[in-house]
Symmetry: C2
Subunit: 315 residues, 2 copies
Amino acid sequence: MNEFFNTVGKVALGTRLRKLGDQLMEEASQIYDLYDVPLQAKWFPVYYTMAQQKDCSITQIATIIGHTHPSVSKIIKEMDAAGLINYNKKSKDGRFTTVNLNDKAMALLPNLIEQLEDARDAIEEVLDKTTHNIWLAMEDMEFELDNKSFYKRVLEKRKIRLAQEIKIIDFSTEHSERFKELNLEWIEKYFTVEPLDEASLNKPKKKIIKPGGHIYMAEYKGVVIGTCALIKFNDTTYELSKMAVTEAAQGLNVGYALGKAIIKKAKNLGANKIYLESNTQLKPAINLYQKLGFTKVVGIPSPYERSNIRMELNF
Amino acid sequence: MNEFFNTVGKVALGTRLRKLGDQLMEEASQIYDLYDVPLQAKWFPVYYTMAQQKDCSITQIATIIGHTHPSVSKIIKEMDAAGLINYNKKSKDGRFTTVNLNDKAMALLPNLIEQLEDARDAIEEVLDKTTHNIWLAMEDMEFELDNKSFYKRVLEKRKIRLAQEIKIIDFSTEHSERFKELNLEWIEKYFTVEPLDEASLNKPKKKIIKPGGHIYMAEYKGVVIGTCALIKFNDTTYELSKMAVTEAAQGLNVGYALGKAIIKKAKNLGANKIYLESNTQLKPAINLYQKLGFTKVVGIPSPYERSNIRMELNF
DNA sequence: ATTAGTTATGTAACTTGTTACGTAAAAGAA
DNA sequence: TTCTTTTACGTAACAAGTTACATAACTAAT
């Protein structure tokens, strides 16, 4: 089994932590028997909390010990069945059920304290013998994970890996259909297709590239997942247009890579200004444009109906 | 909740380990969704083992990954329901069920490997950020606990604590009844009471102390839990006798403490030899006597029927 | 060759939590 | 005030394992 952890590597950290925890908890039960303390090991956190503080409510205990309330509810019920609980419904807020340990339960405390001390000594002994302190390691780990969840970290790693595999390539005729498809995907989702769209989407070569523009396609493992076009307005001004990234690939910074490439291209073509037209509903898109350096400008009407914002980048 | 761990201290190590493990495993499930790998997180160890090695049996997998066989059995069943398993009953030992991943299952491997790599990177990142490495700490901890279980360690600590509270005191008349009781407890358990017992147990003062012997009682929290007597044979030879420790207090080295005290007393009384008579059935007792320095001697008949071994300590 | 023990596996029930959901009481908003 | 939302808590169902037990197939010992 240990070999399994070694070959699988640290991916099994969760499983391994859990196994070790289970083992310790299992032994804890045996220890309770040893000390003649008629408590179940799992009752301990609840018992301990109640011993520290009178008139706890179920939810209070749950938040203190980090369980859910149904868990505490069940444990209290079991402890009650064992004759250890005093229910006081006297609270003025009728929702709360305040509970206390009764005399029988409190009488167990001295034995329990001895047990705890011995257990603590035993753990300290183990921790002293290990060169890497698991208690401190857990504190560190919990701190780090509170900061940024493991899931989020994996997401980031994935993004980095995928980003490395994304290639920005020039448009060629075999991309025609995909180019249209990618653009229709988002237009149809948020708006309706306008006549102006039809023209440039059906004949990109004629309408965009021939007049001095450019089109880039983003490819991932041989699949085209995004596109972006540069349309010539005059010798020094170009329009960034037809930016589209398929839904499944969103969040991987494909748009950013396409934008960067198109800006570079515009510079090479002699532009000193790029503008674009968009809609404020498309918040991720607007964010992307801002990240690329575009700023909002006013006062120039757009030929597109869906457009309600114009942005520019000067350089 | 974190405060709870701080006040309870390291006794809650088990719970805490388990919680952290659970959290990581919970996130693992989300990650599987992210990568479009149609495996349940809990299937992973089984899947991984089968991918590594063809024609595994249920029990084999179970031992490799450190689960019980019913657990693996269930997981395989679930994976089969998901259409990922090839059952081969072809093994010549009819008890084994050899299982394999089918093509559909193997096709998931590339995606899974990517996922594992990203997860590994994420974990390495966290481990790099922590000053105390939890992975190494767990290895240390598992090594230590394999060496000596937590239970055993607590047992030792308890023994030490209790030993400190045990007092060896001189016999006085109010101990008469308890003295008899303690001895009858073990005699009646293993043998039958002999006439010779009756005399010394009923009149310890007259039969043991008056003729120049001594009796010690071991007391724990005001309760007498053991006794041991020294009977004068001649000016330089004494018999160690009536060694008895109540069952509930056994394993706490009370016998050893009593033995040490009685040997010291004998020296003070001018003895150069102590002998005792016992029965080889009573292995813990014989062990104790050996630990006290007694060695087996032969050839001297005993007045007790139950005696079949004689031991001596010369000094 | 027969009997007794061991091994591989399946099934059922239990363990220790968790979500999901319903209900009563309180708090806030109109 | 009345209506909506939130809070406390119970119950039910689920999760991911476990132990306990039954059974079939092999192995070993007489």
